[in-house]
């Protein structure tokens, strides 16, 4: 019995026997089903999928918008993160402080508050009319602060002795970044970066607050039209999982592949 539900203590590579994986997996699934069945039976929820199904195009449209906004924000956030990480390592102090302050402000305040301030104050002041553009910028700025920390940690993990070797060889500074730091940092930061991108996708749901017609806002609207809460929000959860789960699995895969001894 034990062998179906427990891992060997001396199992170094963390492999799980197929029989144990199936047994334990099914057990968890059964328990979760029981829990959900209990919850729904208690609230006696009257399902009305037909009303929501009529609005299926709205879900697809919103989902696609979320994909588009997230993809654009990912690219921009990567750029912001990279520049900030480099700025935090420069010898020019004002730039260094600026990067530090940006990072601390973003990481220290709620994203919702940032969206509101950015949308109603900053974007207004600069005359940015397009709310989708505003959404992408603020999402990228938010995520960029976290990405800069990931990249900085990656760059700093490259040992001093390697940089010395590279210098002694006669590499220029850009060459050191290009041939020594970048390839190694890429391997190291890909897993946490993938995780950050998954977060970014989820965080994009908050953009509904400034009426960006993305996935969450569309689901809210369907709910308002049909008064069918769960039928609107369950597909919403599913839609996000559809995006974040593959990224999460891919990140695990990368972690395994790049785990080389140094």
């Amino acid at each position: 019995m034990r062998r179906y539900f427990f891992m060997d203590h001396d199992n170094r590579d963390q492999r799980v026997a197929p029989a144990a994986a199936w047994a334990s997996g099914l057990l968890v699934l059964a328990l979760l089903s029981l829990l959900f069945w209990f919850v729904f039976s208690q609230v006696r929820f009257a399902w009305g999928w037909e009303a929501v199904y009529a609005y299926r195009a709205k879900f697809v449209k919103g989902w696609l918008m979320t994909v588009a906004i997230s993809a654009a924000a990912m690219l921009v956030s990567l750029l912001i993160g990279l520049l900030t990480a480099l700025a935090r390592r420069t010898s020019f102090l004002p730039l260094r402080y600026l990067a530090r302050i940006y990072m601390e402000l973003i990481r220290g305040t709620p994203f919702l508050v940032q969206i509101l301030i950015f949308f109603y104050v900053v974007a207004d002041a600069f005359g940015i009319q397009n709310r989708y553009l505003v959404g992408i910028i603020i999402l990228a700025m938010f995520s960029g602060a976290y990405i800069s920390e990931i990249l900085r940690a990656g760059i700093e993990s490259i040992g001093e002795s390697q940089l010395e070797s590279a210098r002694a060889i006669g590499f220029t500074r850009p060459q050191i970044y290009r041939y020594v730091i970048l390839p190694q940092v890429t391997r190291q930061v890909l897993p946490p970066l993938a995780g950050e991108f998954a977060s970014l996708i989820k965080d994009s749901s908050l953009l509904s607050i400034i009426s960006i017609s993305e996935f969450t806002l569309n689901a809210q609207e369907v709910n308002a039209f049909t008064f069918s809460t769960l039928e609107s929000y369950l597909p919403l959860a599913l839609g996000y999982l559809l995006l974040t789960l593959p990224i999460s699995l891919w990140s695990k895969q990368l972690e395994k592949r790049y785990r080389y001894a140094t």
């Binding site: 002795s161 070797s165 002694a168 006669g170 020594v180 190694q184 080389y260």
Partner: protein
């Protein structure tokens, strides 16, 4: 190679590493820097490698004064082969690529020529079997030998070794020292810091004894080993030769 230093000084904050070092070696041959830790050996070697800029004084290689602009330093570093104590190699590259990369990116070889020449060197140093392995798959001694191959590959005018065996166990130490002795046989100018005093005795043509940032003695190794003039060097030799 002729090496002259005049009043070379270097401080790190409050800490004076070199306090006016002067010497003149008509022929570097194999020069061993000797002395207690913190005496300034590493700093001196790093200045010769162009990795550290002295606060004052002049360094002359074959009569040519070293300059410290970024351009000059870069050119200088590219003419010098340097091997550190450990972790010389880039962990994401194979042994072959570790040697070929600088040839290609710094010395203008085509990728194919760089790889061919790198392989040729690995063969010469009996490392050809390891060409496709990354540093993590090599022993410490093999890594150091690949690092030496990389330093030699650029046809340097001077080879510098900063305690190349002090992170190795005795067996591997021997294989690295053998290789250095072989390079000496080829007549390459070498400046070496080592704690392997027996090896130093065997290969050193010139000896420089550094103590608290000063050169207390220097000259032909045989004479210095036999008759150290200063009390500091006598005490040092007595200690390192005791066992």
């Amino acid at each position: 190679m002729r090496l002259e230093l005049s009043a070379v000084s270097k401080s790190f904050g409050e800490q004076a590493a070199l306090r006016g070092v002067s010497l003149a070696l008509a022929d570097v041959g194999t020069t061993v820097l000797l002395g207690p830790s913190g005496g300034g050996k590493s700093t001196l070697l790093r200045i010769l490698a162009g990795l550290e800029t002295p606060d004052g004084g002049a360094v002359l290689l074959d009569g040519e004064t070293m300059e410290y602009g970024e351009e000059s330093l870069l050119r200088h570093r590219r003419s010098i082969g340097m091997v550190f104590q450990s972790l010389n190699l880039f962990p994401h590259l194979t042994a072959l690529d570790n040697i070929a990369l600088p040839l290609e990116k710094v010395h203008g070889y085509t990728p194919r020529a760089a790889a061919a020449y790198a392989l040729q060197l690995l063969e010469r140093f009996q490392l050809a079997n390891h060409a496709r392995r990354t540093p993590a798959q090599l022993s410490g001694g093999q890594c150091q030998r690949v690092a030496i191959a990389r330093a030699v590959a650029i046809k340097p005018r001077l080879l510098l070794f900063d305690e190349p065996t002090s992170a190795l166990d005795p067996e591997m130490t021997v294989e690295v020292l053998d290789l250095i002795a072989e390079l000496r046989q080829e007549g390459r100018p070498i400046v070496l810091i080592t704690h392997e005093i027996g090896f130093a005795r065997q290969v050193a043509d010139q000896l420089v004894f550094l103590h608290q940032g000063r050169v207390l003695e220097y000259g032909p190794a045989a004479r210095l080993f036999a008759q150290p003039r200063t009390a500091e060097m006598r005490v040092f030799l007595e200690k390192v030769l005791r066992y």
